[in-house]
Symmetry: C2
Subunit: 449 residues, 2 copies
């Protein structure tokens, strides 16, 4: 295959894609992606990360045309994209493309729901743009994963900006040349480090990817030009940001195989690699009952990435707790909790949690899959209980049902905008594909006036 026109081939496919080209099951997954994203954005809307970003953004915002999800403020569409991208990711509770650990919806849905508020977009067209954006970012991620991620890039930001550009460009009706430029303008803004995990900058990444990708599309619409081979050039995105480049992952089977159909939704509000441990520890809590108080050691045998990503032994804040498999395991064993309430500052500082946390040990084993874990618990009388989780809840093998997604939405949203508004918003979200103007969904997320 030719590696000299990857960006243009992807752009040409993107501009030509029609909603009717997308298989029904992929469109159905797109709706689930949207519902899950919206619930997370409402759930994160009152986080102090969002408050602080809004304080700064309010100094500069343009016309108040786009809703801040889960709040009453309205901003210009690019700033709304930024804030909604932050909200949807700040609880680490969103979605995951498991091949790349990209959280696909944040950069894409945050960009296009805000942009859609200025131009009467139907749910059908919105869904096509959303699926396109997810497809583009995940394919570009597949091209460079895992070497790109290993180098230290937060791939949700670095690949996500292409998804936001593609989806926004679709709404704006870019031609193939403009879409190629949009990818170039997106590429040359691509950034975000894993070093930021545990700080407010982690959720800033999908927010900025949404904002920058959307801006790339608007600039391209104004014929602001760029390289025509930003992804594959010798000093283009894939070569500069990665030591692996498999361009077949970007262009092979376009329109035939769909990464957007492989999205998964987090049952637990933390890094995806801890999910098997939480799942297993919740099962063990059920099995042990009162004997949880007798635990003297918890041994986890995990995929190596678990300790690399979530090896914080003494987290000090709720955000840091999301990157501590020790805290997560202890909280699941003691409280049965893996939801956002398991990762508050209070929970991280709870003496009982800390005492159990310090009994958790983890070893890595390259033969253990990323969505699996082996757990062994030893009690003070010497009893040893072992558990193997082959596939964590929320994985492709054990996907969240529509009902579970609705339940997750309701639990996050009700404390923020109230139960009545939540019920209404959930119904509107599931009805995306038949919505005449998706702005009505964005506006409904503000809750009662």
């Amino acid at each position: 295959m030719q590696d000299t026109d990857i960006t243009q081939r992807l752009a040409t496919w993107a501009t030509g894609l029609r909603g009717s080209d997308i298989p029904a099951e992929v469109r159905r997954e797109g709706v689930r992606t949207f519902v899950n994203w919206l619930g997370c954005a409402v759930g994160g809307a009152r986080h102090e990360t969002v408050d602080r970003a809004l304080e700064a953004v309010n100094l500069f915002t343009g016309p108040a045309r786009a809703q801040v999800i889960g709040r009453t403020e309205r901003l210009d569409e690019l700033h709304a994209a930024l804030i909604n991208g932050i909200s949807s990711h700040v609880l680490d509770y969103d979605d995951t493309h498991l091949k790349t650990i990209i959280h696909p919806a944040g950069p894409v849905a945050s960009a296009i729901l805000a942009v859609a508020e200025t131009r009467a977009v139907s749910g059908e067209d919105f869904l096509t743009a959303l699926i396109l954006g997810v497809e583009v970012e995940c394919r570009i991620g597949n091209c460079v994963y895992p070497e790109h991620y290993d180098r230290g890039w937060h791939i949700t930001g670095t690949a996500g900006v292409f998804g936001a550009a593609a989806a926004t460009g679709k709404l704006l009706g870019l031609d193939a040349r403009q879409m190629t430029w949009a990818f170039g303008i997106a590429a040359t803004q691509s950034s975000g480090f894993r070093e930021m995990f545990g700080t407010m900058c982690k959720s800033f990444h999908p927010g900025r990817a949404a904002q920058n990708g959307a801006m790339a599309a608007f600039l391209a619409k104004s014929n602001f030009d760029s390289s025509l081979r930003a992804i594959e050039a010798p000093r283009g995105w894939a070569n500069v940001l990665s030591t692996k480049q498999d361009y077949s992952q970007i262009v092979d089977g376009l329109g035939e195989s769909w990464e957007a159909g492989l999205n998964t939704y987090k049952p637990f509000a933390c890094g995806i690699v801890i999910h098997p441990a939480i799942d297993g520890c919740q099962q063990l809590k059920e099995r042990l009952g009162a004997k949880v108080a007798k635990i003297v050691s918890v041994e986890l045998r995990t995929h190596p990435l678990v300790l690399e990503l979530t090896g914080k032994t003494t987290p000090q804040t709720g955000l840091e707790g999301k990157f501590s498999v020790f805290h997560a395991a202890a909280t699941a064993l003691l409280k049965g909790d893996g939801s956002p309430t398991a990762f508050t500052d209070e929970m991280v500082r709870d003496p009982a949690i800390i005492a159990l946390r310090d009994k958790v040990k983890a070893t890595t084993d390259g033969s253990v899959h990323e969505d699996a874990v082996h757990i062994a618990v030893t009690l003070d009388d010497g009893e040893r209980i072992e558990l193997h989780v082959p596939h964590a809840l929320g994985s492709l093998e054990r996907p969240l049902s529509d009902e579970a997604i609705t339940d997750k939405f309701a639990r996050q949203s009700a404390p923020v905008i109230g139960e009545s508004a939540t019920t209404d918003l959930i119904a509107k979200a599931w009805a995306l594909a038949s919505t005449a103007d998706v702005a009505t969904i964005a506006k409904a997320s503000a809750g009662p006036a």
Copy 2:
């Protein structure tokens, strides 16, 4: 030395720096940096790159509080920073820190002149912030150059974002912790590829660095947190974006040796590495007179970076012409021109220029310094004329005089805002250090009402 607190040490120094700590000669260079930048920003203000960016930006801009340099529009300060960063760099005529090929003023001055319009900043305080920003970006550049640049990063964007954050943070009065966060928020937005050279995205890089660095400072002011060691962490900026990390370049001699005192100003409107060739060809034009018509070959022996960066043999646009040593040499020999008029679409397509361009050959020689060139011209009667330029005009050894900077400013500015407004603006710019409120300078750049 300890490599674990580079970011915090730099931030602590930055927040403690007082104007009186800066040597007089460095402050003087800061004024020259400012005057040169302002002239370039006016000169580039009507470029179609700016027109197209403004068309997109106008959709989103917030309160019209900051001047678009050289035009009548006013935007919110972050969007003004973006546009002015583009204007100041679009002609490739700005300034150069020769150790790193960073163009220092674009990211920094563009950010803080816009921000200063909202808060009555004196020329003295502005100058301190400007010098601080330049110092920070150049030191960070020194830490990773040349490996970082060789990998494909456009260092004016990637390092410039730190300069904009430092300078804006200084104006906002950040404390050391907030400044550390600002550097972290800047780091995780750092981007921009050399692949974009010859497209509109090249000047987008300093613009976006100005905007993103300023935004980083505003976010930090609102206590939006980040990593405390974004530069030096194992997966921090220097390790992710470079294979070389020399942290002593960042923290050794802070306040004693000044990179900001080493800025240089371009006599020619193109990539700095072509400057020796233009300088030499202008000298040869003088020497040859009418015999220029008899040239049958031009041989250039140059530093290897010349062909790597500016090796386009058949440029099609003015922007591409800036990356063709062949076009630049031919235009200098035939027209004596190296100013912006040498790099228009018309000049690149001029048959006489093309004919001479095709007679220019270049070979690289690692022993030739970046600011030197050997030229040999052969005429149709066999006569051979040789010239050696040991240091190009505009280098540290042959710096532009204040008068030359004024002349460069006037030639760029007069066609844009008229001669009278230009004379007034030049006087205001040189008087920076005694200005009560630098907003008056920004406003004067709009020209007559």
